[in-house]
Each structure stands twice: as structure tokens, then as C-alpha cells.
């Protein structure tokens, strides 16, 4: 049983370390991907990808231009964050501010695991 748990933990670590998404090197796919990750600032809760507002359409053109200039995905996000604030990007960064956000569920998970461990292995 211990072996099973170790195996599962190994799979989990492998999965988490392969989180980098590999996308085809297609520009329009990249535009779609980036715009799905951006919030349309003048809409209520829609992504730039879904929205047909002027703001969203202009952003989509801007993204395409920047990709053609050779900018990377991160550079485009940084540029837009500089213009409009972190609010525009849906993927919260992994920085000091958002540490609690990313870590809290994982800490809770570990804590739950410890509780179960105590219940099962210790009388």
C-alpha cells in the first residue's frame, strides 16, 4: 500500500512539473489563447476572447500585431498589465502577493493528509 501511495505521489509530481502548456506554433491559436486569458475591462465578467466589444476587438488586433513583432506571450501580458493593471489578466501571477492564493489549497491538502495519516496509522 505504501508503494501505491509513493507511486501516486510520483505521478502527481510529474504532472505538476509538466504544467508548461505546449501549443502549436500557430499565431491565431496563440491570439486565441492569450485573449482567453484576458478580461474584457468594459464588460461584466467576459474574456476578451468571448467579447465583441470595441475594446476587446482592438486588443485582439494589438495582440496579433505584437506576436508578429516577435513578442513573447509573457511580454504581451506584461505590456497589458502595465497599461491596465493586473486586473486584466485572468491567470494570477505566482508572486509574493498571490502566495497565499496558490499555496493555501496545497497546505490544506497536506494538512488533510496528515489528519488521515493520524487516523489510519496511529491508534
Amino acid at each position: 500500500m505504501i508503494k501505491l501511495i509513493k507511486l501516486i505521489l510520483l505521478i502527481l509530481i510529474l504532472i505538476l512539473s509538466f504544467q508548461k502548456l505546449l501549443y502549436a506554433n500557430n499565431n491565431s491559436l496563440l491570439v486565441n489563447k492569450i485573449s482567453k486569458n484576458l478580461r474584457c475591462l468594459i464588460c461584466q465578467g467576459q474574456s476578451v476572447y468571448d467579447s465583441q466589444s470595441d475594446f476587446a476587438l482592438s486588443i485582439k488586433i494589438l495582440i496579433k500585431n505584437k506576436i508578429e513583432e516577435g513578442k513573447s506571450e509573457k511580454q504581451i501580458y506584461d505590456y497589458l498589465k502595465n497599461q491596465y493593471g493586473e486586473w486584466i489578466v485572468y491567470d494570477p501571477e505566482f508572486n509574493k502577493k498571490n502566495l497565499v492564493l496558490w499555496i493555501f489549497p496545497l497546505i490544506l491538502f497536506t494538512f488533510g493528509g496528515l489528519l488521515i495519516y493520524r487516523k489510519v496509522f496511529i491508534n
Binding site: D54, F55, S58, L62, G85
Partner: protein
């Protein structure tokens, strides 16, 4: 004893959560962007409306005047409301008023100006909206007050109102 400690921590934790929510109720939930920033007007290139020649934004900023960059379009209803205020502003002050024509057709833009007047020193065009994004704008109408050193002093989102005009006049005196 241990149980008491757990419960006290839990209780304090809930007080904290509820205080945050209580305070959060007062905050607006839609984006209210920074209306005064410390940024400079980004450099951009654009074609002029009438003559079609390329302009780089640096050439527009005069070195002893304030510049007002107003994003407008002929199809934009609120722009009509603020247009008379812009005409007023042109008459009363010597602010360098520049127009940025947003996602518009030349004929429609000219027709608009013929009907409502032309307060602009120069009119640049933004046919696909990307220049407005480079300026950090949300849409139309939007207005930027820029000083002679290219610093954005004020950003007005939505149509200009009378108090905005008074503020502009006050700042640029």
C-alpha cells in the same frame, strides 16, 4: 486546554474573515481605473485625418503648452454631448486640443466636424483601435490631459462634464 486554543483561533479567524467582507462591501466591484497616473504619454505613430501624412506623437506635444488628447468617433453618441464643451474649451483657453479619431470612416468624421464644429488643432486616426490601447484607454470617449513634458496629468473616462472642464481650466492656468 488544547481544545480552547483551537476554538479561539478559529473564532478569531472568522472575525477576520467577516471584517474583510464587511469592509469589502463598500468597495466598488467594477473597475475604476487610476484617474491620475504618473505615466508619460506613450509615443505612437498615426496618420492625420485630412492630409494622410504620418505623425509621431512627440511632434504633437508642444513645449510650452498643455495638450488635450480627445478620443472620439462620429458614431459615438456621448461624444456629441462633450463636443460643445470642447468647442468652448478651445475658445476660452490656448490648450492644444488633439483629436484621435477612433475606428471611424473619414467621410463620417468630416461630416461630424462640419456639423458640430472642429475644436482640434490636429486630428489623428486610429482605424483599428490599437493606438487607444497603447494609450491605455478603454474606449470612446476618453480624454487625456498632458503637460509640456508629455506627462499625463489627468485621464477622463467617458464624456467630459462641466466640472471636468473647470478642472482642466484650473490646472492649465
Amino acid at each position: 486546554m488544547k481544545k480552547n486554543i483551537y476554538y479561539s483561533i478559529l473564532f478569531l479567524f472568522f472575525i477576520f474573515i467577516f471584517s474583510v467582507f464587511y469592509l469589502g462591501l463598500d468597495k466598488p466591484n467594477s473597475y475604476t481605473p487610476n484617474e491620475s497616473s504618473n505615466k508619460n504619454l506613450p509615443t505612437f505613430a498615426s496618420k492625420e485625418l485630412f492630409l494622410n501624412d504620418e505623425f509621431i506623437s512627440n511632434n504633437i506635444i508642444k513645449n510650452n503648452q498643455f495638450t488635450l488628447v480627445n478620443i472620439w468617433a462620429s458614431w459615438c453618441a456621448p461624444c456629441r454631448l462633450e463636443h460643445s464643451l470642447l468647442m468652448d474649451l478651445k475658445a476660452k483657453t490656448n490648450i492644444n486640443i488633439i483629436g484621435l479619431n477612433y475606428k471611424d470612416k473619414k467621410n463620417n468624421a468630416i461630416k461630424f466636424l462640419n456639423e458640430f464644429g472642429n475644436p482640434f488643432e490636429k486630428i489623428l486616426t486610429d482605424p483599428d483601435g490599437t493606438i487607444s490601447i497603447e494609450l491605455g484607454a478603454y474606449g470612446v470617449p476618453e480624454t487625456f490631459l498632458v503637460n509640456s513634458k508629455s506627462k499625463i496629468i489627468r485621464k477622463y473616462i467617458g464624456p467630459l462634464k462641466i466640472d471636468n472642464i473647470s478642472e482642466i481650466i484650473r490646472i492649465t492656468k
